[in-house]
Amino acid sequence: MKSKILIVDDETEICDMLSRHFRYIGYDVDTAQDGITAMEKLTQTHFQIVILDIVMPGMSGVDVLRAVKQQYPMIHVIMITGYVTLENVLGCMRHHADTCVFKPLEDLTELELAVSDAVVSLKQWQDKLKTLRAMAPKYTGEIYGR
């Protein structure tokens, strides 16, 4: 099953470019231009990964990061930013972003790698859950998680 990525950046062209790129290499992609739309989309669809711009009008990238981690702790968030300040990067670390990729995105392989690392990590957890189910059938029933 294809992994789903939500791309959040106030610059439409960047959303389009990243969407095209990741769809071509085999992911399902949706985009949002601001934090509020992003949070709405997250309630409607189950995304595995969010690629998030730090500097946005309204809800800032770090605000969105915090909200996502609060409500959907299993979603991997990868930050992208053109404004490389120490403050920004520390904010990303503090709120448990997977990593931060700096613009201009001259080499998308760094982003691709971050996404595939996230996919691998998620798959590891899925495998663990499968193994658990196999190990103790009487505890099957509702396994929390989605």
């Binding site: 610059e11 062209e13 960047i14 389009d16 470019m17 990243l18 095209r20 790129h21 071509y24 290499i25 053109g82 404004y83 613009k103 201009p104 995105l105 001259e106 080499d107 998308l108």
Partner: protein, 412 residues
């Protein structure tokens, strides 16, 4: 010293003339008050010996007239009088006389008093000259202050441009991102399209030729765009780094050759058409501990100055780097007109510039020296034998275990 003798009695006048001329003074005489006044205006005597009683304007009145005329330089006035009473003496001084001699007088005493007058006039002349000098100096200072203020305004404006450039550099990142990203996607697309295109033998002759052309040229086209984006990024990064506020004073291990290349990149537009750059960069130079941004600022300054010196007809900019005794040496030369020998000292002072108002601040070399000195380095400015200017900079090598503090230039 010029003396005017105002005495209507002929023999007395001649006597006075002989006495004073005999002591080496330049003497003019007049036999009445009116002629005295004429002589004063025309001849400008320094000392006047005036008889109290004269036809025409009297001595005392003449005194007052002289003192009232502001445009006259100071004249030392000695009144000759047979009146000896106190009231008369007071009247004389009141009118502005400096001294009085009661007739008949002693020759030596007269001459002594004339000598006093000469001394007083001497003092007055010195004072006037010093005053004039001071006025001239104050005028020069005022002009200088105005010039400085204009330069500061200009420097301020340039600083704002720097700030704006930093913002613009950030802005350029976004479009650069999506150009670059799309190119990578295009590259991916092409990898899949290419084999299909190659294997399709079914299109007509004309189309087939076109398709061959596309197959041939597509990778280069994509690469061309990619290189363009790379160059934009490099320029923008250089600009961002350059415009960063210099208060952080980040000391890093720096490679001088990298600084040279980065600085050349920044100056590319200035150097492009008219200037040939000859680089002699020694490889694997020991590293220096420096605020790399400041070292780049130094180099950019020198390169731009060289380009300006060489003017419209252009020339050759030579850049050489090599290792020295515990130091790294950077030599920048041009084949412009060089510096006038007598100005080699003045160029190190702040605000020295030969550029017309509004172009350049004159702060360049001064700041350059400040930066080099703060890095415990040295800079030598000299004329190259033949033509052009030569700047030799030495910067100490960073050695392990040695703590060196680099003072913040901005805190001067």
């Amino acid at each position: 010293m010029k003396i005017l003798i105002g005495e209507d009695d002929t023999s007395s006048r001649h006597l006075l003339e002989r006495m004073t001329a005999g002591s080496g003074y330049e003497v003019i005489s007049a036999e009445n008050g009116d002629k005295c006044w004429e002589a004063i205006l025309l001849e400008r005597p320094d000392i006047a010996i005036l008889d109290w009683i004269m036809p025409g304007i009297e001595g005392v009145s003449l005194c007052r007239k002289i003192r009232d005329k502001e445009s006259l330089p100071y004249i030392y006035i000695i009144l000759l009088t047979c009146k000896g009473k106190n009231q008369d003496i007071l009247t004389g001084f009141d009118a502005g006389a400096d001294d009085y001699i009661v007739k008949p007088f002693d020759k030596d005493i007269l001459l002594s008093r004339v000598a006093v007058g000469a001394r007083v006039v001497g003092y007055d002349k010195q004072l006037t000259e010093k005053n004039d000098q001071l006025q001239r100096y104050s005028f020069e200072m005022k002009e200088l202050a105005e010039e400085r203020s204009r330069q500061l305004v200009h420097a301020e404006r340039m600083a704002t441009v720097g700030l704006l450039s930093a913002g613009i550099a950030h802005e350029i990142n976004n479009p650069t991102s999506f150009i670059s990203g799309n190119i990578q996607t295009l590259d991916n697309f092409w990898k899949d399209v290419e084999p299909v295109l190659r294997s399709d033998e079914d299109c007509g002759q004309a189309l087939s030729e076109k398709m061959n052309f596309v197959l041939e040229e597509m990778p280069k086209t994509i690469e061309g765009i990619r290189l363009g984006v790379k160059r934009i990024s490099k320029i923008v990064n250089g600009l961002k780094g350059f415009c960063r506020k210099g208060q952080e004073n980040v000391l890093v291990e720096g490679d001088v050759n990298d600084c040279v290349e980065q600085s050349l990149e920044l100056c590319r537009s200035v150097l492009k058409y008219r200037i040939t750059v000859e680089k002699k960069l020694t490889e694997n130079l020991p590293r220096i501990k420096a605020d790399v941004q400041q070292i780049e600022q130094v180099m950019v300054n020198l390169f731009i100055n060289a380009a300006d010196a060489m003017g419209d007809k252009g020339g050759i900019l030579t850049i050489e780097t090599k290792a020295g005794q515990d130091c790294v040496i950077i030599i920048v030369g041009d084949n412009g007109p060089g510096f006038p020998e007598d100005k080699l000292d003045a160029i190190k002072k702040p605000f020295y510039t030969t550029k017309p108002a509004g172009s350049g601040t004159g702060l360049g070399l001064f700041i350059v020296r400040g930066i080099i000195e703060n890095h415990q380095g040295q800079i030598k400015i000299e004329n190259r034998p033949g033509d052009g200017a030569l700047f030799t900079i030495t910067l100490p090598v960073f050695s392990e275990g040695e703590k060196r503090e680099v003072k913040n230039t901005n805190s001067r």
